[in-house]
């Protein structure tokens, strides 16, 4: 995609400025908008290709080799993939990642939609609310994880105290550990979803609702037949980015349970084979599989959204 034009490096800029002042007409022929566009785009493409695309290819090649510790011991073809696909640990990670994604995105969406509708209605206090909604967003995920860890933990047992549950061990048993992680994620990102949906709601003109009212539409049917269809693009964008983001979950389970009690996500699993029990070939195979899964889900969404998602960015909205 990157054209083979040799991109002059940024130091030429100062020259351009001087030349421009001297003879604008000659200069305009020298560096047209077209070549300027190419020069402007090149560094971004290069960097993204170098740090995103190249490692994926590198990982794929690496995944075809067998390793003992960090030493390459031979070519294995798809052995690493066969091993991964027959490993219960891999399927456990898939299961947790998908359960986490579906449930947390669902609740984030429901709560986010509720918040957005409330904020869209209110006149007073909207600024304060919108500011406070940024608080969960700005708190680092690791901090949110530590915070919810201690709130769920048996000592000091804040959540148990509030709900009168005694010494219920949320983080130390299957199922409930997943639940605690989902709660933390929903708390952190539902407000963000609300923000995106609120922006969508504010583009719907009031007259549409007025005419709906005149036609005798109730509150529910106004939501279902007016808000929902008009909000569809905003909803899909929010769902796309939340889903893809939830599939890459790492911070929350890593800090809250360390991946114990069936809460090992795909990202945690891959990371284990890189650092803790190094096996570059197997780790690379796992990361390639994760890459294919996450990108596959992303592509399904983009298909649903159609070209609007990409084209819409270019024009003023």
């Amino acid at each position: 995609m990157a054209d083979t034009t040799v991109a002059p490096e940024p130091d030429t800029r100062s020259n351009l400025d001087g030349d421009g002042r001297g003879g604008p007409r000659r200069f305009r022929n020298g560096l047209s908008e077209k070549s300027l566009a190419r020069i402007f785009v090149t560094p971004a493409i290069l960097l993204m290709a170098l740090v995103a695309l190249f490692p994926v290819i590198y990982a794929f090649i690496q995944s075809l080799y067998l390793y003992r510790r960090r030493t390459q011991i031979g070519f294995g073809g798809f052995d690493n993939y066969v091993e991964a696909l027959t490993d219960d640990r891999f399927w456990g990670a898939i299961r947790f990642t998908f359960i986490f994604t579906v449930i947390s995105v669902f609740f984030e969406f429901v709560i986010g939609m509720g918040f957005a509708l409330l904020m869209n209605q209110a006149f007073r206090g909207r600024g304060v609310t919108r500011a406070s909604i940024l608080v969960p967003w700005v708190i680092p995920t690791v901090i949110a994880a530590q915070m919810w860890f201690f709130m769920f933990n048996v000592t000091p047992g804040f959540i148990n105290e509030v709900f009168g549950l005694g010494d219920f061990n949320w983080l130390g048993q299957r199922g409930w550990a997943t639940f605690a992680i989902i709660v933390a994620d929903v708390w952190k990102t539902a407000p963000f979803v609300a923000l995106l949906l609120l922006a969508g709601l504010q583009t719907i003109p009031n007259e549409v609702y007025e005419s709906g009212k005149v036609d005798g539409a109730g509150m529910f049917s106004r939501f279902w037949f007016i808000t929902f269809p008009l909000l569809r693009p905003a909803i899909l964008v929010a769902l796309l980015f939340r889903t893809v983001d939830a599939l890459r979950v790492y911070d929350l389970p890593q800090v809250m349970t360390g991946g114990a009690f069936n809460t090992e996500s795909l990202s945690i699993l891959v990371q284990q084979y890189v650092v803790r029990t190094p096996n570059p070939g197997y780790g690379a195979a796992l990361s390639t599989l994760t890459f294919v899964i996450v990108l596959g889900v992303g592509i399904i969404f983009v298909r649903l959204l159609g070209r609007d998602l990409v084209i819409g960015r270019g024009e003023a909205r």
Binding site: L16, D17, F27, L36, P43, P55, S287
Partner: protein, 295 residues
Amino acid sequence: MTTAEARLLDEAARRRRARRDAARIWAKTAMLGVILFYCLFPFFWLIMTSLKLGDRALNSPNLFQGPFGLRNYQNVFEQDFGLNLRNSLAIAGMTTILCVLIGSLCAYAIARLPLKRKLLLLSAVLAVSLFPPVALVPPLYDLWRRLGLLNTWEGLYIPYTAFTLPLTIFILTTFFASIPKDLTEAATVDGATPFRAFYRIVLPLAAPGIFAAAIIIFVSAWNEFLLASTFAPRNPEVAQTVPVAIAAFTGAVEFQRPIGTITAACVVVTIPMIIVALAFQRRIVAGLTAGGVKG
């Protein structure tokens, strides 16, 4: 005469309506209280816990069980946390500078300049934004180990820049596209080169947008954990960042997380970020909704 009467009647009706509206507004405002509680209460819990001293208070679920004091905060800075803050500031700062430099050029080209295969380029940018960072972990770890980039600032801010570029490009494309075309056209007619038009006219006008993007980039680089904990897991003197340090705090007793120190460190990190978020609330919201991506 009649007009004055009519005006009086009007006034009365308006006042009645105003009173009914006021009641409804208050009900709606009360509902906003739910949102405020949801967003702020856990943070309040965090602050209260960080101020508690001694095992008895820290292990009590009661928020107001004293004694209170600042000793937890003292402990935080005895653990090299200042160095972690320095690393995070440097890495997130470098990411922000690089992203804004590279991203604004690319975004301007997409928004305003004639460029072939714009759709393909935007699709590629979108693909990178959907990219799972963990796919980078094995290959980059291997590469960084050979290049000696493990446990360095560069080893972190280079991948951060690549990963935050899509978001930057999306946000800035929206902002650049909202600047009237006539302005740059007028400048070109007056003899300015395309680059001069960008540098002297578009860039200053887009400054608020760039600022919003910068904050969002900074926050996402500051919060990153996966790559940071893989490429620089230890050694605050070198490159260990704040989230990694907070995840790794250990107490006197092993396997027991020191709740006082951790919560205090969390508050130390969070308060400046909340202040920034509140101060630039409008711009951040505008940037986030333009980018549509979580930081």
